[in-house]
Subunit: 355 residues, 2 copies
């Protein structure tokens, strides 16, 4: 099987301000341990796919940092979109580039910024999905067994009738639910978390694009003709500006009749907020996670990131502290989602150097 | 009347970490407005006493900063003690230096780190005290009308029988009380806050020292003989090391029968903690005091000092945030007194650069 990987790394991640910035979003910062999330995403593919078959789709602002962080990946495989156009265009672009290299390619589409604590389990799941995708014209996604009624994730309902090893037909996709709906989903047993990972033959997804997003398909054909010519970048920029801005979920997955999933039974998180970072971090006896030279007294269940200076926290509970070179965030854990209000405030006040 | 002032500026002030440091304690930092507290203390004397009659007693570590901040005061009037020896020795040293200049001097002893919001009222009170001291051999202190049952101050009980304009005989000194005692003091009406300010003829205090602290007096005489000689600094250092370490309150004021007070009816605080700084600061509608570029959301009754970088505080109440170049403090207002534990921790761990 001619396996390829596309890592989508264009996200901005305002919920991780002030650590994430436009030029250095969530996937490029070291949230857990010594590696950034995009480095972990590449490392997790060891033994599964050849380095020269890994492609990164990013944007102009981040490209340099991506090249720097992924020294194992040829810079030719690191492609900057001229404009952000959502996942359908991103995946379409990657697909025509890979299709040019191999007509038989099976492509794994991965977000760059997810946390997976069980890489072996991840690879096992991907292999099952790839085997099924290779032997069919199916679009395969990964559904994660939910461990709690999370309202921050989308869900996928499947038909509980196994069609191959861990493979099920997808019944429907559900948006992020409210808490009571999420509880119902988890109790029902036939709903999984939507991981945003996809596996398919490149020909399969291009065919589905031609059916469900024909204008996008036409644009991709124009770009395809320019591959390996001197005018590639010019054509890419001209065509990309016109492409439809739609997610692969809405544009293809929710419309196609060929959608299956593989049940993933590995620890997974899309790490959507500082609260989730706290939940996923190692904690001490006071249930504090501390990064840096941090003194705490009468302080519980807090996440304190302050690698630059000695920091003392006294008499507080459930707080998030993020100290960076040019900004300081102190936030109740319950308000972790409101960090994006700070980003809005900075945009409105033209404080671009802090974004 | 030949008025002199002695400003005692040797305190370390660990309760204001991380803004106060050993080399830059409370009286040298700008807590309120554009001036440091020692600058405010000097400015408050405008029109009351000549600049050349103002003396500052500080220590070696702080002397340079004091000279820098008090450009109006001759550096000859800024004297560093060789060792910290508590207030009796400090006042004794200042007294012999002033006595050498003027046998008729009336000296006002002031701490360098108090907040007084009504300088005119302060000067009026001092004038009454000085007039009484000049015409007698009394030791006069200033008692402040209490506005709350504060447990952080000492109290002075007076005999409610006016002996001159606003002058009363002191009955007894009381240490910092617990809350119920403090309430009793305030209700009783004959207890005032002990401001730590003293006014007396230099001859009066030297005579009282000779009676109640004769060994200190002998030491002071030895130093006095060396004034204006080349060996002054050597003698000062040798003698000072042997002097008794006792406060003027315990060593003299509580023992002398010549102690009076002037009632002070001006707004006064010894600013003993970040909590008191919060109380004394101007606040906005959310009862927050913010210094620096500070964004708050769902945040109430907090003191946020962060002049160096943009700071966002979300979903917190009653917190103190102090961000400095090399340290960050985040503290519940109720725990403001525990800041000294951080200083203890830093001492124990030899982190002297943070002290």
């Amino acid at each position: 099987m001619d396996l390829f990987v596309v890592i989508m790394a264009g996200g901005v991640g305002s919920r991780f301000w002030p650590r994430s910035k436009q030029k250095k979003p969530k996937q490029l910062i070291k949230i857990f341990g010594e590696n950034s999330m995009i480095q972990d995403t590449v490392d997790r593919l060891n033994g599964l796919v050849k380095k020269e078959n890994i492609f990164i789709i990013t944007n102009q602002a981040q490209k340099e940092s991506v090249i720097e962080q992924l020294s194992d990946i040829s810079s030719e495989n690191i492609i900057a979109e001229p404009f952000g156009k959502n996942t359908a265009a991103c995946i379409g672009l990657a697909s025509i580039l890979i299709h040019k290299k191999s007509k038989d390619a099976v492509t794994i589409i991965l977000p760059a910024d997810h946390l997976i604590k069980d890489p072996a389990g991840f690879r096992e799941t991907i292999k099952k999905a790839a085997n099924f995708a290779d032997s069919s014209d199916s679009l395969v996604t990964i559904g994660i067994k939910p461990t709690r009624p999370e309202t921050g994730y989308g869900y996928i309902q499947f038909i509980d009738d196994q069609v191959a090893d861990s493979i099920y037909k997808v019944q429907t996709f559900a948006e992020k639910p409210n808490l009571s709906t999420a509880k119902r989903f988890v109790e029902a047993g036939d709903f999984l978390w939507n991981s945003g990972m996809f596996i398919w033959r490149t020909e399969s997804i291009l065919k589905e694009i031609s059916i469900h997003l024909p204008e996008l398909y036409d644009g991709l054909l124009t770009i395809e003709k320019a591959i390996d010519t001197v005018s590639f970048n010019e054509v890419l920029t001209n065509v990309y500006g016109q492409l439809i801005n739609v997610s692969i979920d809405y544009g293809i997955m929710e419309k196609s009749s060929k959608v299956f999933l593989t049940k993933g039974d590995f620890s997974w998180s899309d790490v959507g907020s500082w609260e989730e970072v706290y939940q996923l971090s190692e904690k001490n006896n006071e249930r504090n996670a501390k990064i840096g030279d941090v003194y705490t007294e009468n302080t519980l269940e807090s996440y304190i990131f302050s690698p630059r200076k000695f920091t003392a926290v006294i008499g507080l509970e459930n707080v998030i502290v993020i100290d960076t070179k040019d900004a300081l965030l102190i936030c109740n854990r319950e308000n972790a989602q409101d960090v994006k209000h700070v980003v809005d405030y900075l945009k409105m006040n033209n404080k671009d150097d802090l974004l």
